[in-house]
């Protein structure tokens, strides 16, 4: 309603969180996508924890904000603070590391519990250039992704494989979700209040949720 000038020139803004264990290559993935560089000494950005990308998908402008999260186990409980209000989540694991895939499963469970089905999930098996050392089977990973309503991708930040597709796909899905939401809202009367509520209510909750999560995880 705010756009006024028709749906054609509406700009979408999406927040995407990157989740995954410490050394699965989250940062490399996003640096490859936004800067097209890998382990490069000439990377000019000061940081790789918050990156933005502007896209134009089927004539619609999309602003993508990619939030990296700290992957260390001791920060696991802080997850809810990061992923609140995100439209999409990219869950990265290392195909040579079975544990990192288990972590992804935990994240999926948590995200579905906290955010329901409104969030678009992507499960990403990174480092396919190390196919020989694969420890997570393709069937298992893809089967699992399907069972939780997520899409599965294979990528390699080193070889720049599958990354563009991953983000493009995710953007399209998030746009669909946003459009569906808009349609649903269009039927209801109080759209602006609900959207704002959604923004506001989370202010205090996540911390409480974190505290609770902390208790459970530290036990």
């Amino acid at each position: 309603m705010a756009a006024g000038g028709g749906a054609g020139n509406k700009t979408y803004s999406f927040k995407v969180v990157l989740l995954g264990e410490g050394c699965v290559g989250k940062t490399s993935l996003v640096l490859r996508y936004c800067e097209n560089k890998f382990n490069d000494k000439h990377i000019t950005t000061l940081q790789a924890s918050f990156l933005t990308k502007k896209l134009n998908i089927t004539g619609k402008r999309v602003n993508l904000a990619i939030w990296d999260t700290a992957g260390q186990e001791r920060f696991h409980a802080l997850g809810p603070i990061y992923y609140r209000d995100s439209n999409g989540a990219i869950l990265v694991y290392d195909i040579t590391d079975e544990d990192s895939f288990q972590k992804v499963k935990n994240w999926v469970k948590e995200l579905r519990k906290m955010l329901g089905n409104e969030i678009c999930l992507c499960i990403v098996g990174n480092k396919v250039d190390l196919e020989k050392e694969r420890h997570v089977s393709v069937e298992e990973a893809e089967g699992y992704a399907e069972s939780v309503g997520a899409k599965h991708y294979h990528t390699s930040a080193k070889l720049n494989k599958g990354i563009e597709e991953l983000f493009l796909d995710l953007c399209k899905r998030m746009m669909e979700t946003a459009q569906a939401e808009e349609r649903a809202k269009g039927n209801g009367a109080s759209q602006s209040t609900t959207s704002r509520r959604g923004v506001q209510i989370v202010d205090d909750d996540p911390q409480a949720a974190t505290a609770a999560g902390g208790c459970c995880s530290s036990a």
Binding site: G4, I81, D203
Partner: protein, 509 residues
């Protein structure tokens, strides 16, 4: 005098216990010697008076601003025949608010009740605040700042022409409405402000035909104006426990003073001067946050702090910082800085910042990280620092410090390598200097010892020489014998036996 004292100790005059107003009920010292009923009346009256004063002040300010604005607008705007009217007129578009206000009346009652419940510690504090408000210096100081912001706001809106005037009216009206809502809980206040942002930006969207950048710019100014005005009443309001949380966090950070870079795995090498420069700047920025009034300015402080952290990491690791590096460093910075009123500031920003900025932008990301850092610090335990639980307990209780585990070692003997590895360069320097000093001390001791032994040696040598001389003197006493008469043959014992002709002749002489 002593008699009176005694009487007071044992027997209290009934009249002293009664309400000062003389209504016959017992009074309470906490209520300035009034009974609960009289105190409540008194208190309400004072409040009412203050509200009226606020109103008067607000009206006065508004009139001034209207005049200023009208003079700027020049001839085309009508002469100010309706400066009194705006409160009424501008309320019209805010019928929604009025509705809300009535809705909230029910809630308001509960807040007021809570306010007077005896266990609530807010009552005496409110009293304090009332005592403070009339203080001219405070109010004048704040009014200078708010006046400046008001002027800037008018100057900015001038560039917008007609919509600017409307924005001005609405903002003024909103501040007046908020002035009457001081009793609301923090969440309700936040909702009012957020509703206002939402309504205003929606209206601006239609004005500017969907140019979101312009809307954003106007909204930034509106936020600045409104929040500077409302800051005093909505920052760390007494209806919340923000202040308690502030203190708890502050104490917690103090208790964690011993946490060092290694424990948090911070990828920053403070030995590099440039890095430690950035660390210091980051600490300054996060402390500076408390001094800002506008949520956006506070966010800007956090962003600047974060940028310094990124620089520090980039210099140390020579690659862009990921979240894996950033969060531990931010935690470290927060621990080192112990920023004042941290929780209040976070709450204030979440409640009153323009939500679009907080949720998606870069500022929002850094703010989220700060929230994470605080959450982490609050429930940090031995496990999260990779420490033995027993060690953790001992460090927390201050029994030992991780930097010198051997408590009996004594400070001057600290091994420089371990000392420097575990601490900041300044501490390393201190340890080195201490080492140097203790080394010099022991050398001086040795010199002193040498001097003393030399002195002792000298004394004993003198004594021994004397003794020897004495001994020799004793052994060979000096006898002065008179020279015997010279007789050439006196030594010859057998002279007597010599035959007479050979008997030597003795001559006297």
């Amino acid at each position: 005098m002593s008699q009176r004292k005694e009487r007071r100790g044992i027997h209290v005059d009934q009249s002293e216990l009664h309400c000062n107003k003389g209504c016959g009920y017992y009074g309470n010292a906490a209520w300035q010697g009034l009974c609960s009923k009289c105190w409540r009346e008194e208190y309400q009256r004072a409040r009412q008076k203050q509200i009226q004063e606020d109103w008067a002040l607000a009206e006065k300010l508004q009139r001034e601003e209207e005049v200023a604005y009208a003079s700027i607008q020049g001839a085309q705007s009508q002469p100010l025949s309706q400066p009194q009217a705006p409160p009424q007129a501008s309320l019209a578009p805010f019928s929604k608010f009025e509705e809300k206000k009535t809705n909230e009346k029910t809630r308001k009652v509960t807040t007021v009740k809570k306010f007077f419940s005896p266990s609530s510690r807010t009552a005496p504090k409110k009293e304090n605040q009332e005592g403070k408000t009339p203080s001219p210096s405070i109010s004048r100081q704040s009014s200078i700042e708010t006046d400046r912001v008001s002027r800037d706001f008018v100057d900015f809106l001038k560039t917008l022409h007609k919509p600017g005037r409307e924005v001005h009216k609405q903002s003024r009206a909103f501040i007046e409405i908020m002035a009457n809502k001081k009793d609301l809980s923090a969440d309700e206040l936040s909702e009012c402000v957020q509703d206002f942002y939402q309504n205003l930006s929606d209206r601006l969207m239609t004005h500017f035909k969907g140019s979101s950048e312009r809307v954003e710019r106007v909204m930034d100014e509106v936020e600045k104006y409104i929040m500077t005005r409302l800051y005093k009443s909505v920052f760390c309001p007494e209806t919340t426990d923000d202040e308690e949380k502030d203190l708890a966090t502050q104490n917690r950070i103090r208790a964690l003073h011993w946490v060092d870079i290694q424990m948090l795995c911070v990828p920053v090498d403070e030995e590099i001067p440039e890095v430690s420069d950035n660390v210091v700047k980051a600490i300054t920025d996060v402390i500076e946050m408390d001094s800002k009034r506008v949520p956006r300015d506070k966010l800007a402080c956090i962003t600047r702090c974060s940028k310094h952290i990124f620089s520090a990491i980039k210099i140390t690791k020579s690659e862009p910082a990921s979240a894996d590096d950033f969060l531990p460093t931010l935690i470290y910075i927060v621990l080192k800085a112990n920023p004042p009123r941290l929780q209040s500031n976070i709450q204030y920003i979440t409640r009153f910042c323009n939500p679009s900025r907080l949720m998606t932008g870069e500022d929002g990301y850094y703010f989220t990280n700060l929230c994470c850092a605080v959450a982490f610090i609050e429930k940090l335990d031995a496990q999260s620092l990779n420490l033995d639980p027993e060690d953790f307990e001992r460090y927390m209780s201050g029994q030992t410090s991780p930097r010198r585990p051997e408590a009996d070692g004594g400070w001057p003997q600290v091994d420089p390598p371990t000392g420097s590895a575990a601490s900041s360069p300044a501490l390393t320097q201190v340890y080195q200097n201490l080492d140097l000093l203790s080394g010099m001390g022991s050398r001086q001791d040795r010199v002193l010892e040498g001097v003393q032994s030399l002195q002792r040696d000298l004394i004993t040598w003198q004594e021994s020489v004397e003794r020897e001389v004495q001994e020799i003197l004793e052994k060979y006493p000096l006898e002065i014998r008179l020279p015997a008469p010279s007789a050439i043959d006196s030594d010859n014992v057998e002279n007597d036996r010599l035959p007479p002709p050979l008997t030597p002749q003795v001559f006297a002489g």
